[in-house]
């Protein structure tokens, strides 16, 4: 990471800090302040989008650990999220477990299931692993669909909003603070993880797993750890999703969702801490405004097209965005941002 001109490190402590200059501190504090008062000036119709972004971001950060840092493809992330969602719903609904405990257990259970489907990663990679995780997605959803005694099949489960120590999170504003607390924790966790021994081992495995093994990294252990952590965060996201939505069924966690998360990550930028944030915010905002505002508007104005044409628009633009990003900027928007920052620092001497 390059530092602005004139900034030097005088101790190891300052060298490893995430936020290093005064300007960065000021910007960071301003951003956190803006985020914490966001609910008070946000229009009502945007709450749903913002809260969904918060939840999805946790899942995508998890996927980033797995895919961005460790290089293990998971096409079943929505399935792991479903496990978290159902565990949490059943624990809080049937067994009256306190929400925070249920949240952690649902993370753990998703992580454990993730471990099982991560085992093939020892022997296979690339496309084989992708197919194994596709199978994971379909098997998990099938079980949730057919184990009707517990999951109630297509009727789905009703979930009460979370409550912590008798404090009910029953409005969108309260939900915002609940969700974003966990979002910030998981983003910070992932950022720091990437800079630790574990994170470096992940990156070594991603770049060349044989070489990593020769260097003395226990590849199997770290691959499984990556699966566990990635799916753990997916489980947390699922749990938050369940209590936010109030009703879950297996149909909420489709294969398309899994691809959506991968797409968000690729568009944002694999293997960077900024990538998931950019990807999730931009794609989710686009998606919501497309379905809720632009698509109905197009349908009403362009009546010469067959009715319902706009439903394809969403998928088409999203697919196109993935293709374009992969062709022109495989490192995603985060890299573009980094390029912009460095050229801004060097300006007007761009070389």
């Amino acid at each position: 990471m390059s530092l602005p001109c004139g900034i030097r490190n005088f101790s190891y402590h300052t060298d490893i800090a995430i936020i290093r200059t005064k300007t960065q501190w000021v910007l960071f504090i301003l951003f956190m302040l803006a985020l914490s008062v966001l609910p008070f000036y946000l229009p009502r119709s945007w709450f749903d989008t913002v809260n969904s972004i918060g939840i999805l971001l946790i899942a995508v950060v998890g996927l980033n650990i797995l895919m961005g840092y460790c290089g293990q493809l998971s096409l079943g992330h929505a399935g792991f999220m479903a496990i978290g969602a159902f565990t949490s719903a059943l624990l809080t609904g049937n067994l009256h477990v306190p929400f925070l405990l249920a949240l952690i257990i649902s993370g753990l259970s998703a992580g454990l299931i993730g471990l099982i489907f991560g085992i093939p990663s020892l022997r296979v990679k690339g496309f084989y692993l992708a197919i194994a995780t596709i199978a994971a997605q379909f098997i998990i959803i099938w079980i949730l669909q057919n184990w009707t005694d517990i999951t109630h099949g297509s009727n789905g489960l009703d979930v009460l909003p979370a409550s912590i120590f008798n404090w009910q999170f029953d409005s969108e504003i309260k939900q915002f603070y609940l969700i974003f607390t966990f979002t910030i924790i998981s983003v910070l966790f992932a950022t720091n993880l990437a800079r630790s021994r574990i994170g470096r081992a992940f990156i070594a495995i991603r770049d060349n797993d044989l070489a990593a093994e020769v260097m003395g990294i226990n590849v199997f252990r770290y691959k499984l750890l990556a699966f566990f952590l990635g799916c753990f965060l997916a489980g947390i996201a699922g749990s938050l999703y369940a209590q936010y939505r109030g009703h879950i069924s297996y149909e909420d966690f489709t294969f398309q969702q899994s691809i959506l998360y991968i797409g968000m990550l690729i568009i944002g930028g694999l293997g960077s801490s900024l990538g998931p944030i950019l990807g999730t915010v931009i794609i989710e905002t686009l998606q919501k405004s497309l379905t809720n505002t632009i698509a109905p508007w197009l349908e009403h104005t362009m009546t010469f097209m067959p009715t319902g044409f706009s439903s394809g628009l969403n998928l088409m633009l999203f697919g196109l965005a993935i293709i374009l990003i992969l062709i022109f900027e495989p490192r995603g928007l985060a890299h573009l941002w980094a390029l912009f920052k460095s050229s801004y620092r060097m300006w007007p001497f761009s070389y």
Partner: protein
């Protein structure tokens, strides 16, 4: 007993349909080592195109089918030229991701042009069913099986003896060495995508004339992955052998454990194969070096 024979026949025939789609996958993998996850979507879009030709514009069957194949050729060429070629030499993750992007894009495009969600092709084959011993079989399924066998033989012969086929195999093996021997690698890639799209179009028209054109075709594409995994990714023979195996497992599993289990079986097979014999029945094990 009757039911047993009936199950064997239905299972084999449905399995051949999966095999047909899987052939398109193996084709691309064999020549360019790209895993095409947009398999089902290619089937979907070419079936809808055939629908437009045959139902909306009311062309005679032979003309509609010719146009559909022409469309598939164009589609394959465009996909390779615009999406895949810029990514030559990129890591496998990008290659998988771009086919996912492609899958999304094609699905969106179909929903954009044909938002009706459901279409019925005119019946290609006679509707009467065959009697084989005590069992019945839909003639359409039988034809699908025959056509996938023919395609299998054609493709195998092509890859074994034709110059282009040999070039394709060589390209998969070592792109740089092949380039040094003046093989036009770009054309090899183009050709493989074009072939794959044509196979997908034929498969699509067959399946959708049996059932209907809808998003089920995409799911049939997912099931075909189990054929690819079980058979081994680069083997046409693997597809033809594994297809009926999957079909039989589905039918027998369904009749043993109830019809909802049927949907699960291909995916269970994927997991088992990947855990035990990841390179499938006829696939070659790849040994890596640092």
């Amino acid at each position: 007993m009757d039911i047993l024979i009936q199950n064997i026949i239905t299972g084999t025939a449905t399995g051949m349909v999966y095999a047909l789609i899987a052939l398109g996958f193996a084709l691309i993998w064999k020549s360019s080592r790209v895993a095409n996850l947009a398999l089902g979507q290619l089937v979907l879009i070419s079936s809808w195109f055939a629908y437009s030709m045959l139902v909306q514009f009311k062309f005679p069957f032979w003309l509609g089918m010719l146009l559909t194949i022409a469309f598939a050729i164009l589609l394959g060429w465009l996909i390779e030229r615009l999406a895949l070629r810029p990514l030559i030499g990129q890591p496998i993750l990008s290659l998988i991701a771009i086919t996912l992007g492609l899958a999304y894009f094609l699905e969106g495009l179909t929903a954009f042009i044909w938002p009706q969600g459901q279409g019925n092709l005119p019946k290609v084959f006679p509707q009467t069913s065959f009697q084989i011993g005590p069992a019945m079989i839909q003639q359409e399924l039988l034809w699908a099986a025959v056509i996938s066998l023919i395609l299998f033989i054609l493709l195998s012969v092509f890859f074994k003896y034709h110059r282009m086929g040999i070039a394709m195999r060589a390209t998969a093996d070592d792109q740089l060495a092949v380039q040094a021997c003046a093989v036009p690698v770009n054309r090899v890639f183009s050709m493989s995508w074009i072939f794959a799209c044509v196979v997908a179009a034929i498969g699509g028209v067959l399946i959708s004339s049996i059932a209907a054109i809808n998003y089920g075709l995409v799911e049939t594409g997912f099931k075909s992955f189990s054929v690819v995994i079980l058979g081994g990714m680069e083997s046409f023979l693997g597809c033809i052998v594994a297809g009926p195996i999957i079909g039989l497992c589905e039918t027998f599993g369904g009749s043993q454990f109830g019809s909802s289990v049927k949907e699960l079986i291909p995916f269970i097979i994927i997991v088992i194969v990947i855990m035990i014999k990841p390179f499938g029945l006829f696939g070659e094990e790849r040994i890596e070096r640092i």
